[in-house]
Structure formats: C-alpha cells, structure tokens
C-alpha cells in the first residue's frame, strides 16, 4: 500500500458499534469481524478522501506516537482487510 492510496470500505461493508456486545464490528457478506477500539479509529478515517499519509499523520498526532511505527501497523491491518476483500484503495 502506498501513502497516496485512499483506503475505503466498499459498498456492502459497514463499520458499526454493536450496542448489545459493547464493541465495534465490521459487517460484510457472510462475515462479522470484531474490531478493537484502535482499529475502529483507523477505519473511521478510511473514507476514500484521506490518503494513507494523512491517516497516519492524524493517528500519530492523536495517539502521540512516531508516524513510522503507526504506518507499519496501519498498513499491516489494512492489507489484512484488503486480502479479505472488505477494504479497497
């Protein structure tokens, strides 16, 4: 994934807070992914407008962490979702 890529959830994939179980979930065709709070924060920024660089900068500032560390984690997470066809760039 390049820093100019603009990740987004495709149509048919929805990030939703599950009130009953008190956690974030990613709803997809015949799949439900549990999403922890950090991952949910990343996915909320994947709006197809921001590029990866902007997402990393935003998270680095919010969590006061080094951008290179954040970038590595974010790319690993997003690439995993891309392989499952629930994230597009």
């Amino acid at each position: 994934m390049e820093s100019s890529d603009k990740p987004r959830l495709p149509r048919g994939v929805r990030l939703r807070y599950d009130e009953v179980r008190q956690r974030w979930t990613l709803l997809a065709p015949e799949r439900i992914f549990e999403v922890d709070g950090t991952a949910a924060a990343v996915l909320q920024l994947c709006d197809g407008e921001r590029d990866l660089g902007a997402i990393v900068a935003e998270l680095a500032s919010r969590f006061q962490a080094p951008p290179d560390v954040i970038e590595k984690d974010v790319i690993a997470m997003l690439a995993g979702l891309q392989a499952k066809r629930v994230l597009e760039t």
Binding site: P10, R11, V13, V20, T25, L27, P29, E30, Q82, A83
Partner: protein
Amino acid sequence: MTAHQAPPPGPPIGILVELTHRCPLGCPHCSNPIGLEKPAAELDTETWKRVFSEAAALGALHVHLSGGEPTSRRDIVELIRHAAQCGLYTNLITSGVGVSAKLWAAMVEAGLDHAQLSFQGADEATNDRLGHYQGAWAKKRAFAAMVTGAGLPLTVNAVVSRPNLHQVGAFIELALELGARRLEVAHTQYYGWALANRAALIPPLAETQAAIRIVEEARAKLAGKLVIDMVVPDYYARYPKPCAGGWGRLAINVSPSGKAMPCHAAETIPGLEFWNVRDRSVGDIWRDSPAFNAFRGTDWMREPCRSCERKEIDWGGCRCQALALAGDAAATDPACSKSPHHAIIAATAEAEAEAGSGDIRWRSYKETVDV
C-alpha cells in the same frame, strides 16, 4: 423449572428468514421441506417487521432474506427498508429470476447490503435443467450485472452435486467473469427435497475429493480477488459440520408461517415444541422455547460426543441428520467418523453414486399436503 438452570444463551449473530416458500425454480437439491408452506400461511408485513426489530434488539447483526424466492414477496422493499433501519446487515439470497430493474433499484435504495445469487450450473443447459426453468441462465446473468452495476457486493452461490460437480472450475470462472466478490461452493446438504433426491444427486468420493482440491487451489491463487467459501459434503467428512454453528447458539431460522427454529430442517425432528413469532417475541423464543433448549450446549450429549475433545467445535454435528440417518436426534451425527453409523452412510452414499439414478423429483407445491 428444573434444578439445573442453564445459563442464558449469548445473543444470536444472525436471523435467517424464509419469507416465502414460493419460488420460480424447481431445484431438486432444495433444502426446503417437502411439505412447502402455502402462500396463505405466510406472515404479514407488520409481523416480519416486528421480528426484525426484536432480532436486532436481541443482538442479531445479519438478516438473511431467504425462501423460497424472497423477492416473490410483494413487500420485499418495505421489509428491506425496515431491516436496514434496525441496523441489520441485509443479505438477499435469491434465484435472480423475476427481479426487474425497477424492483432492484428500489431494493438498493431501501438499503440492501449484499446479494447472494444462486446458479444451478456453470453453463446455460445445465443451469436451466437443474433449476427446472428455461431461461433462468439469462435472467441470472442480467441480475448479476445489476448487482455489480449498483456497486453492491455479489456472491455467486453454486450448489453442486453429481449432475454439475464436474463444473466446479467453470463456476470459479463464472464468478470471476460476473465480478463477484465472493463465491460459495455449496456441496448439497441432504435435507428436504435434496434428501428425497439423494440417489440422483450424491457424487462419488473420488469426484468429491477432486472438486475440493480444485476449490482449495483456486482459493489460494485468488486471495484478495475472490473470497471462496466451501460447504463441505459431510457424508464423506471425517468430522460433522457444527450445524448452524451449534444448536441455538448463533442463529435463528423463521419459516414463512412464523415457526422459529434453530435450523431450517429442525421441524423434521418429532416431539420438539416450536414457538411461533406470531405468539411470542423473538427474545422469549431464543431464551425459553423448548425446541431451542432441547439440544443447546453439551448437556444433552451422549457418547461418543460427551467425552469428545471436539464437542465444543462440532457441537455434536447436525441433529436432523442424526435423526434421518441414525434414527435418533440425540445420537452423534453419522457424518462423524466416531459414529457407529458412519461406515454405513459413506457406503450408502458410494453405492447410490455408483448406481447413478437419474430419477429426479422436482421441487414443487404439487406434493404439498394441507396441515
């Protein structure tokens, strides 16, 4: 009330609603019961809407709109809209036959999330013969184009059995050509019409294994491009499938007339008391209905399930299959290699596959009896 009160069950993750048993197709591998429920017995719009609201409040995340053919319901758009408003992820399980461009646009606008389109064959002749509907192939392809054209995720569902198992590679090509995000290769499960047609449908072991290898190779090769799920043919399996993820553990199934069941075939088990959504809330049924509690958890198990290390993986397999093949719903599913009946059913399957009957009972209302 008994001395041993089981803890209340966790919430269901999904609800599968058979909105109607009407269907333009006549597939012999259909898992609906032989005694199809008549249109006059179907729930009305308001009751289905209440079911969706209650299921969502209980914790269900997905609603699977199934049948029969769910778009045969005149209120399908209203039902989708309501389910979406409840926050449910809406999955339309359809033949794709009889869905006009206008109806499709209305369903998308109402909030449909995903469409799962069945194919009975990977070419026109096979598809239209097994679906028992001339012209279905063209209509299905047109439906697929509408789904991808609207940007919605498309799943191609290929139900395979002896007459079309050799097409498994072609089904993969078809899914790619149609732009599907997901392919489900569903080896026929023998319930309802499929059980009645088993001799005409069950494939030999060697062909089954070859088909599984093709799918597994494609799945690795197409990772990131096409998600491939496979429902395995359990007569030849080593371990049984955890039916519906475990009885009363993850899923609720509601028949057209409102009967709530742990799985679509549960009615075949005599002596179970099913509650109807007309009379009770989904939450009451989930927690307290005798049918949902009958085989919930592991307390009901006998040997070899009781001491099995897989008992909370397989959950004893399928109760309906235990009844159909071992004559006892509380027995180990004969699909399991630990069942004393396992060798017999695998041998029966092989013998039926070898005999190669072409005698098919097409799914229809003609055999329906009034109840």
